[in-house]
Symmetry: C2
Subunit: 335 residues, 2 copies
């Protein structure tokens, strides 16, 4: 098994109020590099920020790292369009940051990214891939892709108050700019990604497609962005078994409808509960209250912990100690 | 502890007869990408070659991978100027391939590479770094740097018959083209690297320097290229403790003088013997007969095995099985 983390950025994330993946829009480009460093090293290294929401909620990377420290699984990050450097080792697929979804073609290289990621997913030697993501603003581009494909599902948010009205307005602007109607890109995933997507959606779709072609077991580790990936795969005619591993925080989000979407798309849905009620874990309580909720493969990591019979109490304790160290030793490198 | 693998290329490697790190000069640019894949995954992934010498001797990457499978240490590869893609995750320090050492300035960006690598080596969270390399033609540029610094040491070779006359002629041409006399760059490591080095030497020197600045324990894992790195560090005024971990195959090379050079440079020399005499291991027998001898951190990996009390018989068996799998399943991707 290998855990793949696709990390990238878009101009869409800079739209005010769209994402909680950073304290400010200007800081958000450092969130995916920092997330990759936290999963790799347990701490930020050269990224100049500790990724927190505007309200100070720590990144779900701490959950994925916690499980990784308890169950030593192999990780590779994939540069799916980073806009800032990272000290995490990344696999290059020649992706560049995405544009603003309100432009006509925010991911002009969608086809090339899909193809490079597909070749990589097919060539990797492991029988099982668990694929997570970190891209600020990613639920908005996911909503855009779903609209282009004509899928009715809504999306979740890293903010406690999902700014769905704003996302819908941005997606409407994007459809207009791209000159496509809702559903007009059905069965045309490349077109949907080019016009309304982001490079991380293209990368994860390609990785999963390639892995499935090679007969691997594929788990999409995430929330509604991974619903968009699954929709892209189904619209590409991929009918293989596919698992979605997510958190109870996304599964419980009434704005997200994840269970019916997963059923529609013929996904095996795995929701792993870190048993927040059992504890006073501050971070998980914030996730339960609606902040972050998912990201950086958190749901997949929790699934991996459960598969290895690691008690959730142990996972929660490790989450707390990693978050405490990160908060006590914030990055001192310039920004 | 983390094992860092600096991988890069130069035009120097294309000089006919200079290196055994690939079947042909044209194939050599794929050797560092393939070595990084073998250490990371245990097999080549997208690299189109199985790195072998012109005589068919497998890459020392199999030794490093073997130890890694037996003692699960953390690895990060660093792109120190790759000229071909790799599916191994790599840390970017914005290095580009080196030129031909017979040009005036084969590593124009030496200072920037040194600085980026230094910042990385300092920032990495581990207390101990073991640093290896893969760069075809690397002993020639090492000889060039030693000449520029005015150090008298000779270098080893990945070929059973060290083409020292050719290397010396190439270095003489390089000194002339760079318009510097032997020893004229003493105490000027940046100038020596710019005029006579390669991007991997610059990267390893920077990583080690940064790590030492942060108080880390540093092991240079390799042969005479690492002697050049140690010389660069001493000429930069770095007086910290420094270890060189190498193989008995380099240590026994009469063309290399590694023990007196290590003593001169105040290095703690660790030579770890995989006990070839005890066995009929075909690969190690070829290394003992003078092919490959070192590279991809082999000497450091053997040291790590010994530190962990892994029996050398176990290491040898694993080397054989990895090499067998690699030979049985050569890359099928295009070249």
């Amino acid at each position: 098994m290998r855990f793949l983390l696709a990390v990238g950025t878009t101009k869409t994330a800079e739209i005010d109020g769209i994402s909680a993946a950073g304290t400010t829009p200007a800081q958000m480009r450092h969130t995916p590099p920092a997330d990759a460093e936290i999963v790799t090293y347990g701490t930020t290294v050269t990224a100049p920020v500790m990724p927190v929401s505007p309200a100070g909620c720590p990144t779900p990377a701490v959950v994925t790292r916690a499980v990784r420290e308890l169950r030593d699984f192999a990780v590779a990050s994939i540069d799916a369009g980073l806009a800032a450097p990272t000290a995490a080792p990344t696999i290059s697929i020649d992706a560049t940051p995405g544009g603003d979804v309100r432009e006509p073609t925010p991911v002009a290289a969608a086809e090339q990214i899909l193809e490079s990621a597909r070749a990589l997913g097919q060539a990797l030697p492991e029988d099982e891939l668990v694929i997570g993501e970190s891209i600020p603003g990613g639920t908005t581009t996911a909503l855009g892709v779903l609209a282009a494909l004509g899928e009715p599902y809504s999306v979740s948010s890293s903010l406690a108050e999902n700014p769905l009205e704003l996302k819908r307005a941005v997606v409407d602007d994007g459809l207009t700019a791209s000159n496509i109607d809702r559903g007009e890109s059905a069965m045309e995933p490349v077109r949907a990604l080019r016009a309304m997507g982001d490079p991380v959606l293209a990368t994860v779709t390609g990785l999963a497609h390639g892995g499935l072609t090679a007969g691997k077991s594929i788990t999409l580790a995430g929330g509604t962005q991974m619903i968009a990936v699954a929709a892209l795969l189904r619209h590409a005619g991929v009918e293989d078994d596919l698992r979605l591993a997510t958190t109870p925080f996304v599964a419980a989000d009434p704005s997200a409808d994840i269970a019916p979407a997963a059923a529609d798309l013929d996904l095996e849905l795995t929701v792993t509960d870190p048993d927040v009620a059992e504890t006073s874990n501050e971070i998980l309580a914030r996730y339960e209250a609606g902040e972050a909720k998912e990201g950086v493969g958190m749901g997949g990591a929790l699934m991996l912990a459960e598969q290895a019979n690691i008690p959730m109490e142990t996972v929660r304790d490790r989450i707390s100690s990693i978050a405490r160290d990160l908060t006590a030793n914030p990055p001192t490198h310039g920004s």
